[in-house]
């Protein structure tokens, strides 16, 4: 057995005298395997990455159970934000010499000192880091090392304060006796099973087809060589072992190249991740057991592909290579898959529009998977049936059709990988586009322009925030508004009590004067409250009861469209008739002149001594979320498009190999046709149609399946169906380009085989 394998290895490298086809086969097999390894290793690394992050998260977890002899560390957490950057700031103060120090720090920051995470340090050092700095208290004196943050994208800081400052917060502060909880391992996490594996599988499918196609290149030449081996006494099993060993060489080279590619990818992976994700490259390593599986699996894949290619070939000693009878395409399972998918999707019609029922979602998911697989399985049959019915046309068209009639299965298999990915992409793209269409619908109340900055504080600090804010450059006024809940039995109305300027920043209420009260009708509808309502505040983690208030008879009902924070009752102090408001959180709206961004930074710096008691943001903070959502949608589109183009490129390379193989096999007839005056353009166009027909059928099928699947999903989500025409055109354009490129790349070979020496027969 080893002797057969050794012989196969020697034949694969041909003692340095490899034919063009053999060299191409080796190169393409190696390339396909390298890509497969380059997909599998990152997939394995993601699991390790998640594990490393979970392990560090466990290591920095706060232990609040008292420990004897340990002077606890006092801690208070809050978030400072600019746009959609949220910084978790932990105020810390030691209560004794042995108070625990958080992982990642050499010492606790002294009062007024700030230690920041690597990502936060980078953002502060960036040209636009000034706004973030303005929201943070204290002076940056050091960095938290990697051990102290779960991931590279972690925005966090430790801020030193006097112990009394945290003690003043009562139960809101935390006593930390140690850091670190036992790490029990990630196991087979939901991330791995639910996200990574399907993506890897979808990307691997076209690669598997690619490797299979590559392993069949130069098949005729290889079969002649195998026949020669049969002649000298090797039996059919030995011959298969030789063929398997030949493919091992390509697999070995591919494995090494794939590992090399992954090593290079690791060095800059932190810079190329979508969705603004950041990771430590050190975490992005596959775990050893998975590496061993990949190293064993991938050569197995190559050998399996080679043997799969030989499954209908009987190598006989007299140089005769006989093809076994083609297996009749079994249809029942292809239709069964498709029908199951359609049935599940049809079942979703039983659910009402917008019904987010789990059963409906499950039917949709199962139906989508079955339909995608079914469509892929049907493609070879569909292409076969289609080309069977095609007749006539120009000579080049006839050449292509007849060639596909002889064997469309190989090309269809190549394209089927493309179909499932394209259909999936169109599906996800359609859902994202339709769901994302609502993002732009948010419109800020007109009053926001007058008070562009908002400071969130407590009733206790309301006056001080007002004083500090109005001392900042450019500020012309401060308008506090208290968050109040109005209770009518079990019914709750969230609202705000403040002057007209503050209320107009919350909703478009029109004209306003002190003494007015407004009921803003929610989007889903609702009735204005009447009678007596109980006022309630919210402070230091608890509800604070207030006095009762009678809803005035002249309560104005407004339909203001979108409101910030979903308030429904907006009340001016004059409408409360002098009632004392309960303690609650307060939003101080700040008016001013000049650039709102600069104004916010000025206010941020002015109120920073209050630390967590004064959080500065834009009054129109929802716009920041809209921007973030838009960026997420754009990132999603880019990732999907990249994945689709990758799969398209792999399919195009498979088709290229197929074309090269077919041209090589038809060397003599093509040369004879050329000698007889047939223009090379006719032959090239034949090659073009031959590539284009399965691809076009595949893309049409993918678009139909993709759009067909998008409709029921959006129906259940009760969203309008919006077809992402630019994305579809981009995919169509890329497909046409790929087909043209494949044809152009086969031209040199076509020119070569139609040269004189091909005709020489002596």
């Amino acid at each position: 057995m080893m002797r057969d394998l050794a012989l196969g290895l020697r034949l694969a490298v041909g003692g340095g005298r490899m034919s063009g086809a053999a060299l191409l086969r080796l190169a393409m097999t190696a390339f396909g395997i390298a890509l497969a390894v380059a997909v599998l290793l990152p997939a394995a690394a993601v699991h390790h990455l998640a594990g490393a992050q979970a392990e560090r998260r466990a290591a920095i977890a706060q232990v609040t159970e008292p420990r004897a002899g340990v002077a606890p560390l006092l801690a208070y957490n809050w978030y400072a934000s600019v746009g959609d950057d949220f910084v978790k700031v932990t105020a810390v103060a030691a209560t004794g010499a042995n108070s625990p120090v958080p992982p990642g720090l050499n010492r606790l920051p002294a009062p007024g000192e700030l230690a920041v995470s690597p990502e936060l340090a980078a953002k502060l050092a960036a040209p636009d880091g000034g706004s973030l700095k303005a929201r943070l208290p204290g002076q940056v004196v050091g960095r938290i090392s990697r051990e102290g943050v779960p991931g590279a994208d972690d925005l966090s800081a430790f801020y030193g304060v006097p112990a009394a400052q945290i003690e003043a917060e009562g139960t809101e502060g935390t006593k930390v006796y140690a850091f670190g909880r036992p790490y029990t391992g990630l196991g087979l996490s939901a991330i791995l099973l639910g996200v990574i594996l399907p993506i890897a599988a979808v990307l691997l499918l076209p690669l598997l087809i690619f490797v299979t196609t590559a392993s069949r290149m130069g098949a005729a030449q290889r079969e002649r060589r195998l026949a020669a081996l049969r002649l000298i006494g090797l039996d059919s099993r030995q011959v298969k072992r030789v063929a398997a060993a030949e493919s091992l060489v390509g697999a070995g080279i591919g494995l090494v190249a794939g590992i090399g590619f992954f090593a290079v990818l690791r060095t800059f992976v932190a810079d190329i991740l979508p969705f603004g994700l950041r990771i430590f490259p050190e975490d992005f390593v596959p775990s050893w057991p998975l590496v061993v599986v990949i190293v064993l699996l991938v050569p197995g894949l190559a050998v399996g592909s080679a043997l799969f290619g030989l499954r209908r070939t009987i190598v006989e000693p007299l140089g005769v290579v006989r093809q076994g009878k083609p297996v009749r395409r079994r249809m029942w399972w292809r239709w069964a898959l498709t029908a199951t998918g359609v049935l599940f999707l049809a079942a979703t019609l039983a659910f009402d529009r917008g019904d987010g029922d789990t059963a409906g979602a499950l039917a949709l998911a199962v139906g989508s998977v079955f339909l995608l697989l079914g469509v892929t399985a049907l493609l070879p049959w569909l292409v076969e049936r289609l080309v069977e019915r095609l007749h006539g046309g120009s000579p080049s068209w006839q050449l292509a059709i007849r060639r596909l009639q002889l064997d469309s299965g190989t090309a269809s298999r190549v394209v089927s990988g493309l179909v499932v990915v394209l259909a999936g992409t169109i599906l996800i793209q359609g859902v994202i586009t339709s769901l994302g269409s609502g993002i732009d619908r948010h419109e800020s109340p007109a009053g926001v322009a007058a008070v562009p900055v908002r400071v969130q504080t407590t009733a206790a600090h309301e006056a001080e925030v007002g004083r500090l804010a109005t001392s900042a450059a450019g500020v012309t006024g401060a308008h506090p508004a208290r968050n109040i809940t109005f209770l009518a039995g079990q019914e709750r109305y969230y609202g705000l009590v403040g002057d007209c300027v503050a209320l107009q920043a919350r909703a478009d209420i029109g004209g306003c004067s002190d003494g007015d009260a407004f009921y803003v009708v929610p989007a889903e509808g609702g009735a204005a409250p009447t009678g007596r309502l109980q006022l309630q505040g919210y402070s230091r983690g608890g509800e604070v009861p207030g006095p009762e208030w009678t809803v005035p008879g002249d309560l104005r009902v407004v339909r203001a469209g979108d409101t910030l924070a979903g308030d429904s009752l907006l009340v001016t102090p004059g409408a409360l008739g002098g009632l004392a408001l309960p303690d609650s959180s307060v939003a101080v709206y700040v008016s001013g002149t000049g650039d709102p961004k600069v104004l916010a930074d000025n206010v941020g710096r002015a109120v920073s001594p209050l630390a967590w008691n004064a959080a500065v943001s834009n009054s129109d903070y929802l716009s920041d979320y809209v921007e973030r959502d838009k960026r997420m949608v754009a990132s999603f589109r880019a990732v999907l498009l990249t994945a689709s183009l990758f799969v398209l490129a792999v399919a195009a390379m498979s088709l290229l190999m197929l074309s090269i193989e077919q041209i090589s096999e038809r060397r003599r007839p093509l040369a004879a046709l050329s000698a007889a005056g047939v223009p090379i353009g006719v032959l090239a166009r034949g090659s073009l149609w031959q590539t284009a027909i399965p691809v076009v059928v595949g893309v049409v099928l993918a678009v139909a399946a993709g759009l067909g699947l998008t409709a029921p999903i959006l129906r259940l989500a009760d969203r309008p169906m919006i077809i992402d025409v630019p994305a579809l055109l981009a995919l169509a354009g890329a497909t046409v380009t790929a087909v043209l490129l494949v044809t152009v790349l086969t031209m040199p070979l076509l020119r070569q085989v139609t040269r004189l020496d091909t005709l020489r027969s002596e």
Partner: protein
Amino acid sequence: MTTPGTPLLIGSGLHKSFGPTRALDGAALSVSAGEVLAIMGSSGSGKSTLLHCLAGIVRPDSGTISYRGADLVGMDDKGRSALRRTEFGFVFQFGQLVPELSCLENVALPLRLTGAKRKQAEATATEWLARLEVDGLAKRRPGDVSGGQAQRVAVARALVTGPKVVFADEPTGALDSLNGEKVMQMLTQAARETHAAVVLVTHEPRVAAYSDREIVVRDGHTVDRELVA
């Protein structure tokens, strides 16, 4: 129509080298309309190169080739391709039929390339298949017929456009003697019926015997058979 006996294709002073190898060294010949000319010679003597030059497949390094008064050497590739498509026919040793097309479609292909409608082209092709006694193979693909049958289909394809000259390069080289003779008989008979000249490259005297005249290529020169003792 070209009168039998009139020189149709004349080559003189033909030189062609492939790297250091001199394939033709002053070769010359002429073929008259309706004449069957055999070019003989040992392996590597340059006879196939001479055929390729005369057919306009390759351009000689020097010398002249005149086809019905037109200079073939000075003609561009497009012009030579058109000439090969419309005026010449070709039969090679083996593997010249397009494997995925049926025998009928293979024969009809040259007519389609000259602009004939499919039905018309296939009707003419059917006649030629019948003439060469292979009309029963019309729907079969080349891979499903014997070597002799495939060569007769190739002859039909070479003659279907009514060429003035048929170039045949070892047309029986891959056939047994019986099938070889049958193919030669049909090729020469059909060519004579249509007054087409045949330039036949062979190293088999038995095949050359079907010709009206023989010339021998030796070291790139052409010599009349009568002069070779």
